[in-house]
Amino acid sequence: MSASKAPKVLLNLQKTAVLLADSDTMGQSIVVQMLVGFGARNIVRCDEADEVRRLIKNQTFDLIIIDPASFGDEGYDLLTSLRRDQASPNKHSPVLVVTGHTEQSRVGQLRDAGANFIVSRPLSAAVLLDRILWMSREKRPYVETNHYVGPDRRWRDAALPLGQTGRRQKDKEVAARIAAGGEMNQADIDLVMNAPVDTAATA
């Protein structure tokens, strides 16, 4: 649910351990300002790939925000190894990738790296807040295959969080049918009934 659409949504990152990995200090500072605004007090900033690797092996984070492109080739490996390392305490931590630009040759690698969300810069505080809220409500299981380790990507048929306007063809069809006074079929009902309800997150 977007904060702007639902003013009663609550968010405080005071108790959230955040790892912010970005080799560019200005890019890092911009995200830090937003996180501090959201109440975060425990932010570990990191601008070197080796240090990121060491941290994700030894420390548990509730939220990892990373710009893999800023670390060059190593950045994408960092993400993959985070998910594939059986001993990693962050194997199932929510990962938000923030990126200014992704090289064409890297798009597939980024898609398969196992991030929960990918957002592009310029990043507004409202978008970051929305994505954090969205990740906090996620109930997707983690899947492990030979080619992919990360949150289940098969969520095409899952309903959007409450308050979000659907952009999928199916969402538009259901909305049009309801607006026209038509009856919902079983698939429409399933789509609506699958909507995640999270009363704890709203006042």
Binding site: A3, I30, P122, P141, E144, T145, A203
Partner: protein, 119 residues
């Protein structure tokens, strides 16, 4: 395929903290970003000064220079908006596309990058 259901760690951490309206958090974050405007403008000047006027040297050297243009432009994306110059972000992304396209196709035509820089 192995499927694992895990507790949402982020949700648990948020639930532990005292509740704050998201709108309050958002306002606070935007106020803090507004304070960064001057720093971002300075950073943009630094990055703009790093762009070469053209390419020189052999093919390998030129490839490295295009790569450097790409990296510099990528670092600009996002800084422009906070500096109050959102058009810079659009230009920087466009420059990233051009430089990445040239590197991907192993072409070294500076004019394509130079055109975006000049505009």
């Amino acid at each position: 395929m192995k499927i694992t259901y895990v507790k949402n760690r982020l949700r648990a951490a948020l639930d532990e903290a005292s509740p704050v309206m998201a709108q309050t958090s958002l306002d606070r974050a935007e106020a803090m970003l507004a304070e960064m405007g001057d720093d971002c403008r300075k950073r943009l000047d630094e990055l703009l000064a790093m762009f070469p006027a053209g390419l020189s040297g052999d093919a390998d050297a030129m490839r490295l220079q295009v790569r450097s243009v790409y990296d510099t432009a990528r670092r600009m994306v996002g800084v422009g908006t906070v500096a109050g110059l959102p058009e810079i972000d659009v230009v920087a992304r466009s420059l990233c596309d051009a430089a990445d396209g040239l590197l991907l196709r192993d072409r070294l035509e500076w004019e394509r990058c130079g055109f975006i820089s000049r505009r």
